[in-house]
């Protein structure tokens, strides 16, 4: 499959504007009369958001287009620790992202773009913005802002709160950002990768975009593959690729693969190498999982799934924005239950409690955080049922103390038994 977003990469240095133009061609400008045509083409392309929610990009654009004083927010926060795709785009091919941001702004009639990115990527992005200064731009100003850290900080309303100089906490919707977003203005919030795809659709059209992928999820997608594989990293794959193939794309498994975490920390565990599954919504849904933001982590035979799940649950509880009772209390209750299970101190009724509490917190927060955590935990209890029982009866195994596949930045030590 020919690279699209990652064309010209890997490279020793970020692609300059000249290199970018050589690879992708000139940046199209979207005049006021072309805006409708573009949005309709994006709809025809079926571009779905690549930030995790998978919302149709054209629908969001149509909602914001034509409103008063709209603004575009480019979301490069990437709060998911096991994801690096947005960082790769921002660091290595910033002009593709900037193209997409400008095109989106022109399409919805916005004069301003706020690009939110990790602090350490900002110097390179400033350089890229300066490189474009002499171009005849269409009055779209791009301003850079440092992203907040934290798992939920990348949620679109949390990003808006952060831009408004408030703590990066999600707020309840409705109203959605497209209606009332940044300082009350209609706001188009898009993930970095979504806009990179938009930059190419504007050049090559929807038919080209649909040349790869599945009928239900078109185009290519970036995946971050890590864990017990030889070549962890960010890869561009066609939507609908066979899940086991992701492991061979990433250099093959180091160990025999016990399970994959698909969709990141809000996703789900699937057994083994995901045989029979393809990387799209319909297929993954049959395994209670989803593509999410394209994160796949492989757990090897020498890792402990119980220790990993318990530690992750503890971290997810810690990462709660502390706004909603069921999230704050429910995730803590589940984390403690999992820790009891890991250390062989399970209480009678804990298996029923796990099922009850994962159901009970689902859909009960202002954002998807408790729902995602519950999904991950419920899938672990299904896929790792045997290991859960083993730990409940005999306590920690040899692998427990060493197992550190899932990254949990800033996990408070009191959580580690």
């Amino acid at each position: 499959m020919r690279h699209r977003l990652l064309a010209g990469l890997p490279a020793d240095a970020p692609l300059s504007l000249a290199a970018h133009r050589e690879i992708h061609g000139e940046t199209p400008t979207v005049g006021r009369h072309d805006a409708d045509v573009l949005i309709r083409d994006v709809a025809a392309a079926g571009l779905k958001g690549r930030g995790g929610a998978g919302f149709p990009a054209a629908t969001k654009m149509a909602l914001v287009a034509g409103s008063r004083r709209p603004i575009v927010v480019v979301n490069g926060t990437e709060g998911e620790p096991m994801s690096a795709k947005d960082r790769v785009l921002l660091e290595m091919t910033p002009h593709l992202v900037l193209d997409g941001a400008e095109i989106a702004a022109q399409a919805v009639g916005a004069r301003e773009c706020l690009l939110v990115a990790p602090t350490d990527t900002l110097p390179g992005l400033h350089k890229a913005v300066r490189e474009r200064r002499h171009l005849p731009r269409s009055r779209v100003r791009v301003k850079l802002a440092p992203a907040a850290s934290g798992f939920v900080a990348g949620e679109e309303t949390a990003v808006l709160a952060h831009l408004e100089r408030r703590p990066p906490r999600p707020r309840p919707v409705p109203p959605r950002p497209a209606e009332r977003g940044y300082r009350g203005r209609p706001t188009l919030v898009n993930n970095v990768e979504t806009l990179a795809h938009l930059a190419l659709i504007a050049r090559h059209g929807s038919a080209w975009f649909k040349g790869v992928g599945t009928p239900e999820r078109h185009g290519t997608t970036l995946v971050t593959i890590s864990g017990a594989i030889h070549a962890p990293g960010v890869y561009e794959v066609p939507c609908g690729v066979e899940v086991p193939r992701l492991l061979s794309i990433a250099g093959g498994a180091m160990d025999s693969v016990r399970a994959l975490l698909v969709g990141g920390y809000s996703g789900a565990w699937v057994d083994g190498t995901g045989a029979g599954l393809t990387f799209d919504d319909a297929s993954l849904q049959s395994a209670h999982a989803m593509p999410g933001a394209g994160v796949v982590v492989a757990l090897g035979a020498s890792d402990c799934p119980v220790a990993e799940t318990a530690r992750l649950a503890g971290w997810l509880s810690q990462e709660s924005a502390d706004q909603c009772g069921p999230c704050v209390h429910g995730l803590e209750s589940l984390a403690q239950l999992l820790q009891r299970t890991e250390t062989g101190r399970r209480h009678r009724g804990d298996r029923e409690r796990l099922a009850r509490w994962t159901w009970m917190v689902t859909g009960r927060g202002a954002c998807q955080h408790p729902t995602g955590a519950a999904r991950m935990i419920a899938s672990a209890s299904r896929v790792f049922a045997a290991e859960f029982e083993d730990h409940a009866r005999h306590g920690r195994c040899e692998a427990c103390a060493w197992s550190r596949v899932l990254v949990t930045p800033g996990l408070r030590q009191s959580r580690v038994a």
């Binding site: 309840p172 706004q323 009772g325 069921p326 999230c327 009970m360 859909g363």
Partner: protein
Amino acid sequence: MSATHRGSAPALARSVGRLVLDPTRCTGHGMCAELFPEKIALDDWGYPMIDPNGVPYHLEKHAERAVKGCPVMALRFERARTDA
């Protein structure tokens, strides 16, 4: 039971509206469940779970009392549109 879940179409057609919770305001006082136990139950941590199937005509007064009784104004009542 989701705080924002929409009930099935036939159930909503019989209801006059639905209760919607702002989970970021709710502090688990439990007054709402006390005033309207037919449609509101408390979860294992004392936070309300609202029946997503809407409020029927004969219970509307209880829904209104629950809304007014919330000390932090976390609950609101969304009236169903009367046009077909």
